[in-house]
Amino acid sequence: MQELRELAKKLLLEGTVKVVIGYAEGRRGVLPIFAVTPGEAGRLIFDPRCVQNLATYLSPRREQVVALGRPAVVVKGCDARAVAGMIRESQRSRDDLVLIGVRCGGVLADPVSAVEVSEATVAARCPGCDARVPKHVDHLVGPLPPAPPGTSALDARIAELEALSPGERFAFWRSELEKCVRCNACREICPMCFCVRCVADKAQPQWIESSPHARGNFAWHMTRALHQAGRCAACGECERACPAGIPLNLLNRKIARVVAERFGYSASGDPESPAPIGTYRPEDGEEFIL
């Protein structure tokens, strides 16, 4: 903690950055803060309650954050993957950012009521994580906590769904997606959803029905999953933000697995690695094509 604070103070004092985007204690749990003074940097913390992916605040769409000046941002391994994605897709230049990596032992599923990481409290995406030490960062702080216990409940749930018939899966997703009210929290919080104008907001033609009925919701979530394929940083923020409690991580993880199996690609912290959609190999599998 002290290491993080001292580093942030130093970066601000020597003028390397104008703002440090990090975590601080709030009234109910941890909040993102934008520390512009060394005093504010003294409030920075990192612990398993720091679930937010702060890379989102680096999007050029966040004009008011951009206006603060050159940022340093505190990133976990999954967050660093998002930053790499943004750099890969020319949203930010690597030179404009200072990345403060934090070693991570998994975050909490419910950071307001739980404090300690255990098999029962850890976020479902964390067990088995291969990015507990963020890569391609400028500074790395904190000790490496033990790996989160157990195995991911997501994998088990995906396997269950895959074992169902198409009709049963359709019924499951219908009951989930019926709850969607199209608040777009999944999109707005996503660091990789930086489009100035989302396909879902386009009306000429209106490809995606904007009404929150299950049909419009299927169109939205299928399209979003496709647009995230090979880009999703697996930070789980969309599911956390969803006020309807839709298990979006199931879809994200399933598609990440497809991309890994079919194209041998998984999102990493390396901005130089090419994205799987937007490139191709002549020998890609095509057993589904007649």
Binding site: A24, G26, R27, R28, G29, V30, L31, P32, I33, F34, V36, E40, Q52, T56, Y57, E63, Q64, V65, L68, V181, R182, C183, N184, A185, R187, E188, I189, D201, E209, S210, S211, P212, H213, G216, E237, R240, A241, C242, P243, A244, G245
Partner: protein
């Protein structure tokens, strides 16, 4: 016209069964069927499913009066002509059992805008069909602040009958004509009852609990908002906001909507009304590309202004019930309770404000 009665828990259970058997749609705060998960208001088959006392359900009651999407009318085009078929605005009876009093109050707050010169038939059709039986709240959690906006955990506003938990059952206050009709229809389930000391004690304890979270003066907040359109506080507050609008969608009083046409085929389709939110940049975007509310700071300000200055100015009602849903749901950690606290302490003239500091 308040009348006091008593209903035992077994009687309430039978009453719920009677309702369902009689074909009335019964709605209550309940967990999703067969699953763990957040309590929401949904159709239930009996009292056992209903979580009568507890924190506010994840979503409010408004969706039973203003659904997330509803058909306004359908159209059918034939050779240059068009036939319209309006959505029916008479609805089968439904009873909400176990409404949190704040959610019942919200519905009556929104009544005002829905009946402002123009009477919204769809809203009031559902209102008319619905009897709201609330259960006094025990005081909520750390995000509740109903007392700061002039309501209370046991507020009667908007409810037709208010139940207060007492040993073995509920003290019942019959508040409206609709409540009287409801009680008359289930007369055998209710017993005579007068003043109940136990009920008074429960209510006082609940109020005390809610008051501890936030003491604010709505008049002062309104005065600040009306005088501080240009104020550095907005930019600081808006930094961590994602502009997603989850707050508005879970809000019991946010009622802004969009109107869209959706074709089913070349010739047929429907015009729908969908929930919308002032937190989205698209909300005010002109066809020309001009946007009067360009930044997220403007949108946050609009949300607060609408709730605590504009609506009170028009309708003498605060467009907020202090249910705390927006605080609990916000993925960016925006905290209305904190904002109100801060605004309440802010002098009305522009002053110093830190960035993103809570």
């Amino acid at each position: 016209m308040t009348r006091e009665m008593h209903i035992s828990e077994p009687d309430l259970r039978v009453l719920a069964e009677d309702l369902v058997r009689g074909g009335t749609r019964l709605i209550g705060p309940a967990r999703p069927p067969g699953k763990d998960g957040a309590v929401v208001y949904r159709e239930v088959k009996g009292l056992d499913e209903i979580v009568l006392v507890g924190d506010p359900p994840a979503r409010s009651l408004k969706e039973f009066f203003l659904p997330p999407t509803e058909v306004l009318f359908t159209y059918r085009q034939k050779q240059g002509d068009v036939e319209l078929a309006p959505a029916p605005h008479v609805f089968p009876p439904q009873v909400v059992l176990g409404a949190r009093p704040c959610d019942a109050a919200a519905v009556s707050v929104v009544d005002k805008v829905m009946d402002w010169d123009y009477h919204d038939e769809l809203w009031f059709g559902r209102r008319q069909a619905t009897t709201i039986v609330s259960v006094a709240c025990s005081g909520g959690d750390a995000s509740c602040f109903c007392t700061a906006v002039g309501l209370a955990p046991d507020v009667a506003k908007g409810s037709d009958v208010l139940l207060v938990p007492v040993e073995g059952g509920f003290h019942a206050e019959i508040l409206t004509e609709k409540g009287e009709v409801f009680v008359a229809a289930h007369a055998t389930r209710f017993a005579a009852g007068g003043r109940s000391e136990a009920a008074m004690a429960y209510r006082a304890a609940a109020r005390g609990k809610a008051e501890a979270n936030l003491r604010a003066d709505p008049a002062k907040i309104r005065a600040f908002l009306e005088s501080s359109f240009e104020h550095p506080i907005w930019e600081g507050i808006a930094l961590r906001c994602h502009g997603c609008g989850a707050c508005a969608f879970v809000c019991p009083t946010c009622h802004c909507f969009d109107i869209v046409d959706e074709a089913e085929s070349v010739a047929t389709g429907a015009r729908r009304r969908n929930w919308d939110t002032c937190q989205a940049a698209k909300f005010t975007l002109h066809g020309s590309g001009h946007n009067p509310r360009k930044g997220q700071d403007c949108r946050i300000r609009q949300r607060l202004m609408h709730k605590f200055a504009i609506y009170p100015g028009r309708f003498q009602e605060i467009l907020c019930t202090g249910c705390g849903r927006c605080v609990r749901i916000c993925p960016g950690g925006m905290d209305l309770l904190e904002m109100l606290d801060r605004i309440g302490r802010e002098p009305a003239a522009p002053g110093e404000a830190g960035r993103g500091a809570p």
